[in-house]
């Protein structure tokens, strides 16, 4: 059974909610890339918008764009991945609870802090009574949502599934994660991130949703071939081994990959893995990066999936994404190989729909 991306939507630190595909890179100075937010009123009723945090609005917008592109009115399931959930509302309620010593608290921030708020609000806006699930597992959140969707489509009971990944940065989360040494200390431009030789990366955020289905339609963007995760690999040979098993389970090998999109994030401690994988399996393959566009966050693979699918559809690489090799004349298969903090790796394989 083939699974296709019938439509998709993306809110990110780049201009991704309209206009030509990543025509020019939005440049940032510093270690935090904020999403470029569209005017949400085009999708969401004012009465509902007033309670929604940014993460919910980003998710809803990406979901709406995805359904719109796919020309699907009502999905048969909504599966969301979010590592952090609704951080802003969590911070608001937590701060008030501490500052007001558990007195005179109001419910809105608490209600909105629940991890399945994004999926729930999409269902509420659509009036969608179908299956609604939310995965909240760090850098496997989006991948789990994707895998669950693939399994449900294979079981044959549903036609269309709306699947996505979304995460937000807040002032609190950025301050706290900075203390863990995640981000670069010295000023850096995002356009120079992938060439950086220092530790740390740049924080990012965003939402990408996909309408998946088993039939090819006039709107089909790309084929979603498969997804796999690898938790705490012992060493690089285990990663390359798992990658080969993944590719062969989808009846292809490294030589069939026209473009490798890797999760390089400019962190000198982590990027060596991609070098090693490329040398071992993809010495001739064109390699692209994406975290200089999206920033680093646990569901960044959703942005990469959006980028990969559009590249397959348009058969063009946007400027500034190629890290090594030359842009292939024909792009039939793209492999996304993403890593997060050296503990979470995922592989997502996409193909041109006609292959």
């Amino acid at each position: 059974m083939n699974i296709f991306i019938q439509g998709m939507g993306c809110v990110s630190p780049q201009h991704t909610t309209g206009g030509p595909f990543l025509a020019e890179i939005r440049e940032y100075e510093g270690n935090r890339l904020k999403a470029v937010e569209p005017d949400y009123k085009q999708w969401i009723d004012l009465k509902l918008i007033r309670r929604m945090g940014r993460v919910v609005k980003m998710g809803v917008a990406a979901a709406k764009l995805s359904l719109q592109e796919a020309a699907v009115v009502m999905p048969d399931a909504i599966i969301t991945g979010t590592a952090y959930g609704c951080l802003d509302d969590t911070g608001v309620f937590l701060s008030k609870m501490i500052n007001q010593q558990e007195e005179m608290l109001t419910p809105t921030a608490f209600i909105q802090s629940t991890h399945n708020t994004v999926g729930g609000q999409i269902a509420l806006l659509l009036g969608c009574n179908a299956c609604n699930n939310t995965f909240v597992h760090k850098a496997f959140s989006f991948e789990s949502a994707l895998l669950d969707s693939i399994m449900m489509l294979r079981e044959g009971a549903v036609q269309h599934i709306l699947t996505g990944g979304v995460d937000e940065i807040t002032d609190h989360s950025h301050a706290i994660l900075s203390r863990f040494g995640l981000y670069k200390q010295a000023p850096i431009r995002n356009t120079a991130l992938l060439q950086s030789a220092t530790k740390g990366t740049i924080a990012g955020e965003g939402a990408a949703f996909f309408t998946l289905g088993t039939e090819m339609t006039a709107h089909t963007v790309a084929r979603l071939t498969g997804v796999s995760t690898l938790y705490r690999p012992a060493d690089i040979p285990e990663i390359t081994g798992a990658l080969q098993v993944f590719l062969s389970s989808h009846a292809c090998g490294p030589e069939d990959i026209d473009l490798l999109i890797c999760g390089r994030n400019g962190n000198a401690d982590e990027d060596g893995v991609y070098e090693a994988i490329t040398q071992a399996l993809f010495p001739q393959t064109a390699v692209a990066g994406f975290k200089h566009l999206s920033g680093e966050y646990p569901t960044a693979a959703a942005f990469a999936t959006w980028m990969a699918a559009r590249i397959l559809q348009l058969q063009e690489l946007s400027p500034g994404v190629l890290i090594s090799g030359t842009a292939p004349a024909k792009i039939r298969k793209i492999l996304i190989c993403n890593g997060y903090q050296g503990t979470h790796y995922s592989f997502i394989l996409l193909a041109h729909p006609n292959i």
Binding site: L46, R51, P107
Partner: protein, 85 residues
Amino acid sequence: MEKLMADLKAQIVAQLNLQEVKPEDIGDDQPLFKEGLGLDSIDALELIVLLQQHYHIRIANPEQGPEIFYSVRSMAEFITAHQKQ
């Protein structure tokens, strides 16, 4: 009463984050819920805390909500009655 109602309108707009509603747009007798201003049960809970914060009135039973929060005037009357006690 007029001053109290004007205060309440501003407090309601702020507390409920009613974007694009100006306090003066809310009628004294306009129903706040459903077909009126369109508030719902979560807003009712917010208004209970509003009364506690600004007027030191504690409502223990949320079922009293619909009556007290029917309109800005009913809220003002409830507050006035309680403050006299």
